[in-house]
C-alpha cells in the first residue's frame, strides 16, 4: 500500500482507480471512505471540500462498509455529489435528506427511435425548435397541466402511472422506469401544502440549472449484445431528458430538514455538518421522511413522463408519423438523487439496507429481480449524461457493482468549475460559436444559465466512464453525441 503522492493524510492508493480515506482522517469516522477515481480525477477532487464530505458521511450511525464516492465526485452540500452510503436499521442506521438532496429523484430518461440521425438531419432543427416551444423551459416556467387536490395526491402516490391514466403516457413505458415509476410507501399526507403549492404548476416542465433535453446520435457501440437488448444501434437518433421533482421536491427536502434537525437532537446524533441532519430508520421521523421523499420521487417520474409526451407530440408534428411508428420507446429511466430500501450482501448475509445515492445511479446487474425481462440477461442500462458539448453514455451494470458499491455507479461528468467562475471565464458568444463549430444546435431559456453549463465547466465524462469500465462496476455500451441541446 503506497501513500498517495500528494500527501493528503490518511489517503492511500489501493488500486489504479481506487483510493481509501482512512478512519483516522476525521475523528468519529465509523468506516473508511472509498473513492473510485483515477489519479487525475483524484487531483481534481482534492482541490475543495469533497474529501471532508466523504469523511463526514462516514461518521453517521449505522453506515455499512464504507462511505463511497464515484468518479464524478465533487463538493456539494452535506453529502458529497457522487456519494453512496448504505445504512442498516439493525445497527441504528439513519436516513438523511442531505443524502438525497433538494432535487429528489433528479434523474435521466433515454428514448430510442427508429430514425437514423444522418438520414434525418434536415428534421433536427425543426424538431428542437418545436420541442423548445412546447416544453416549458427555464426557472419560473410552469407545466401546462395543473395538479391540485386529489389529482396531486394521486400523482404523489402513483407517480408515472397517474400520467398513463391521464392518457399522456404509454402503459408499457412503466416497465422501463426504475421502480416502475412509483416508489412504494409514498404517503401524500407527509407532503406539506407548501410543497404542493410550489409544485402544482410544475409537473411537465424542465427547469433550469444543469437540467436539459438533448437530441443525440449514437456515435459508437462498444457492447453489441447489450446494445441489442437496449434497442440501440449506431447512427440512431435518441432523446435524453434530465430533470427532477422541481419545486415540490425542493420544498419537501426543506420541510423535512426542519424535522430532521430536531430529530438529530432528540436522538442525540452527533453531526459534523448540519446538512447531514438525520433520524434513525426505525423512528417516526425517519419513516415520515422516506414516505415524503417517495412522493417527491413519484412527482419526478411523472414530470419526466409528461416531458416524454411533449417530445412524442413534437416528433409527430414535425415528421408526420405517429410516435409508435417512429419508435419513440423508453430505453430506461434512472433516479440519481434518492434513498431506497434494497437487499445487499453484508458480511456474507443478505441484509436490508437504505441506500442513499446523491449524484449516483443505481446499477443492478443481470439476473436482478428488479430488472425488466428484456434486460434480465444483460443487466440494467446505466445512463450517464455528459456536458452539452461532448458526449453522454449508456453503460451496462455489472455484478461488481453489487459486490462493491451497493449496486451503484456514477451519474454524470461532475462539475470541475464553479458557476461564478464559469460566468467569469466563459464568453457567451464564444460558447455559441464553439457549439456551432461542433454542429450542435443550442436553445436556452437563459444565456447566463447556458454559460454556467459550458463544456469547460465539467470534467471529462469519458475519463469518468473509463473508471467505471476499468473497475468493472459498469461497462461501456454506447456513446451518444449531442446534435441539439435545450437548456433551461
Amino acid at each position: 500500500m503506497t501513500k498517495w503522492e500528494l500527501g493528503i493524510p490518511h489517503l492511500t492508493k489501493e488500486d489504479e482507480n481506487l483510493y481509501r480515506l482512512g478512519r483516522e482522517y476525521l475523528p468519529g469516522m465509523r468506516v473508511p471512505g472509498l473513492l473510485y477515481v483515477s489519479e487525475k480525477l483524484m487531483k481534481q477532487a482534492s482541490k475543495d471540500n469533497a474529501l471532508s464530505q466523504v469523511a463526514n458521511v462516514a461518521t453517521l450511525p449505522g453506515i455499512v462498509n464504507a462511505s463511497l464516492a464515484m468518479p464524478d465526485i465533487h463538493w456539494g452540500y452535506g453529502f458529497v455529489i457522487g456519494g453512496v452510503a448504505a445504512f442498516d436499521p439493525r445497527r441504528k442506521g439513519i436516513v438523511s435528506p442531505g443524502g438525497v438532496g433538494y432535487d429528489i429523484n433528479c434523474g435521466v430518461r433515454l428514448l430510442s427511435t427508429h430514425l437514423d440521425a444522418d438520414e434525418n438531419k434536415k428534421y433536427i432543427e425543426p424538431l428542437v425548435d418545436t420541442i423548445f416551444n412546447t416544453v416549458p423551459v427555464g426557472v419560473g416556467k410552469g407545466g401546462r397541466i395543473p395538479f391540485k387536490g386529489k389529482k396531486m395526491e394521486r400523482l404523489l402516490r402513483d407517480g408515472a402511472e397517474a400520467i398513463v391514466d391521464e392518457g399522456l403516457s404509454w402503459p408499457e413505458d412503466l416497465t422501463y422506469l426504475e421502480e416502475g415509476g412509483a416508489m412504494d410507501g409514498a404517503d401524500p399526507s407527509q407532503v406539506t401544502q407548501r410543497a404542493m403549492e410550489r409544485g402544482k404548476m410544475q409537473c411537465g416542465s424542465l427547469g433550469a440549472g444543469n437540467h436539459f433535453l438533448e437530441l443525440q446520435r449514437v456515435d459508437e457501440i462498444f457492447d453489441q449484445e447489450a446494445a441489442n437488448a437496449y434497442g440501440l444501434s449506431r447512427g440512431m437518433l435518441t432523446v435524453m431528458i434530465h430533470t427532477g421533482s422541481r419545486g415540490l421536491g425542493h420544498q419537501t427536502c426543506d420541510d423535512q430538514l426542519k424535522v430532521m434537525r430536531d430529530a438529530a437532537r432528540k436522538y442525540e446524533i452527533s453531526l459534523p455538518d448540519r446538512q447531514l441532519a438525520c433520524a434513525p430508520l426505525d423512528s417516526r421521523e425517519g419513516r415520515d421522511y422516506v414516505s415524503a421523499m417517495a412522493c417527491a420521487a413519484n412527482f419526478a417520474w411523472a414530470n419526466r413522463s409528461i416531458l416524454v409526451h411533449l417530445v412524442r407530440n413534437s416528433f409527430e408534428k414535425v415528421l408526420g408519423q405517429s410516435a409508435e411508428a417512429l419508435g419513440l420507446h423508453i430505453v430506461y429511466d434512472v433516479a440519481h438523487n434518492i434513498a431506497k430500501w434494497e437487499v445487499h450482501e453484508v458480511d456474507g448475509k443478505r441484509t436490508r439496507l437504505l441506500v442513499h445515492r446523491k449524484g449516483a445511479t443505481r446499477a443492478f446487474p443481470a439476473g436482478h429481480k428488479d430488472l425488466p425481462d428484456r434486460y434480465m440477461n444483460v443487466g440494467q442500462p446505466v445512463l450517464i449524461p455528459g456536458d452539452m458539448g461532448s458526449a453522454s453514455w449508456v453503460l451496462r451494470a455489472q455484478p461488481k457493482a453489487m459486490e462493491e458499491t451497493f449496486g451503484s455507479a456514477c451519474h454524470g461528468a461532475g462539475r470541475a468549475m464553479g458557476r461564478r467562475e464559469a460566468k467569469r471565464k466563459i464568453d457567451i458568444s464564444d460558447l455559441i460559436k464553439q457549439m456551432d463549430r461542433r454542429g450542435i444546435i443550442v436553445r436556452a431559456g437563459s444565456k447566463k444559465g447556458l454559460v454556467e453549463e459550458a463544456p469547460e465547466a465539467y470534467k471529462d465524462v469519458d475519463a469518468v466512464v473509463d473508471v467505471m469500465h476499468e473497475t468493472g462496476i459498469s461497462t461501456r455500451v454506447a456513446r451518444m453525441k449531442p446534435l441539439a441541446v435545450i437548456k433551461g
Binding site: 452540500y77 419560473g140 407548501r194 419545486g247 430536531d262 455538518d273 448540519r274 458557476r419 444559465g449
Partner: protein, 147 residues
Amino acid sequence: MYVNAPDYSWKPVAHTADLAIAITASDRTGLFNAALEGLLGTIDLKTDSRDDEKIKEFRINIDAKVIEETLVDFLNDCIYMMEVGEQVPFRLEDVVYNDGVLQAILKSRPVREEERTEIGHIKAATYSSLEVKINDGIYSATIIFDT
C-alpha cells in the same frame, strides 16, 4: 470585495457545484439583512423598490433553536415568497432576535418582468458548513445555496 452598507455586507465565494456567499455584520439585524441581500445579489435581483411598485409588509416569526437554523429558515421563506408569492423581499426591519426566534417586519415588492427568468435559480439555502461566528463584535458566516 464586500458589497453594501458599512454595518453589514456580503460577497460571493467560490463553490464547485453550487453558489455561496460570505456575510458579515456588526449585529444580528445586519446579519439577516446581509443574508437577504446576498441571496438577491446572487441571482442578480435588485434590493431597491420603485415608486410605482406596491410595497407589502409581512410580520414574520421564525422559531428555530439556533441562529444558523433561523438564518436558513428565513432565507428559504424568502425563496418561497419569490417563487410562489411572486414577491421580492428586500428589507428586514424592526428585528428582534432571541435564542433562535426571529421577529421582524419583512418588506417586499412585486417580481419585475425582467426578473422572472432569475427566480427559481436557487432551490434552497443549505445548512452545509454553516456556522455563525462572532469575533470582536463582528458576526460572520458562509452560506451555500443549492442551485
